[in-house]
Subunit: 225 residues, 2 copies
Amino acid sequence: MTPSPFVLGLQHEARTSTLPINVGIHEPAEGGKKVRNTLIWINEHGTITSRYQKLHLFDIDISGGPVMKESNSVEAGRDIVPPIDTQFGKMGMMICFDLRFPEISLRLRRQGAQMLVYPSAFTVPTGRAHWETLLRGRAIENQAFVIAAAQCGRHNGKRVSYGDSIVIGPWGEVMGRLERVEDADAEPEGGREPQLLVVDLELGLVEEARRKVPLLRRTDVYPEI
Amino acid sequence: MTPSPFVLGLQHEARTSTLPINVGIHEPAEGGKKVRNTLIWINEHGTITSRYQKLHLFDIDISGGPVMKESNSVEAGRDIVPPIDTQFGKMGMMICFDLRFPEISLRLRRQGAQMLVYPSAFTVPTGRAHWETLLRGRAIENQAFVIAAAQCGRHNGKRVSYGDSIVIGPWGEVMGRLERVEDADAEPEGGREPQLLVVDLELGLVEEARRKVPLLRRTDVYPEI
């Protein structure tokens, strides 16, 4: 696969700034008809060291609201990628609609994840109704940090993303967040200015939450995930 | 097992009022050393038609807050009880700490539950931090009503329950709720007055949520629960 100028540019920036970058991209699937919705980890030396291909595709039909069928153009992934070692801790990678399925984060938690990432582009109605609650729920039930970068604003005449990038602690508390769209219809053309959120993560809080409330699973009654 | 005056009284009331009752009780376990934490369904004729024994026991240790070890005195259940048919719809039964484990509600959802019940006695700190978020999360991810009756107020010198009985719709919206304890230390002796919450459930909303956002699980990648 030929690396895109976008990804090459990010690799260069990662190297130059000695900072890792976690970014979602679309790349061609085999056969050339569909694309993959992929999350890549570029390490601080500019090397792509991990890639996760989105498992759950986003096919929704909201009356009077958005209708989307991601599976028309996107090839679904076939694997959960075990948590990757970063200089910040063990990170489990998921994408957007994966958030609705507890199974994938439970697997990553069992495999040692201390942080769960969900880069996303939620719609405005589902963002308003579900976004914060599901993210905080995943943080609480997995006793892990949740880091969810979110596209915000109007993409084109039809599509608007909710935004509300958010970082949540392992006790469920919101540690920081960015802008969100309250009214999709009133959202002007041209998108929004990028924003940056900087949060310090203390991994000790993960251990503390897990010590306070031990979650002993009953895998004698239901399967281990 | 000899029925208790408490349960016999409820059976009488159910029969007299032609109303079913769903209530949590403690009953002796075999061997006589421990008890069972059981949720029973008394139908509108006063007959106990179903019982669920709590699967996940509540052992927590919060520094400067509650320390409890339910497993010292309670025998854990061994089964998930398939959803029961009620005149209101198909109901999945869980109890309190079960709320922290997505697996049990996912199983009940797969077996057809339209309503999930979680009668509970959360502590005040975990209630404040986790209660509403986890309940709304379970409603959203299972696209089901969540009905959570909750003990509220001081039981004794040491123990205070959070309250906040709540009914949530399958899109995650709070449909009704009762009193909660904001400050455990300031909570007086003697408990609180009982309160009653009446909510109309439209089962059509369950089907609507499931139609709008189909949740196709990837049981080729993780186990079916």
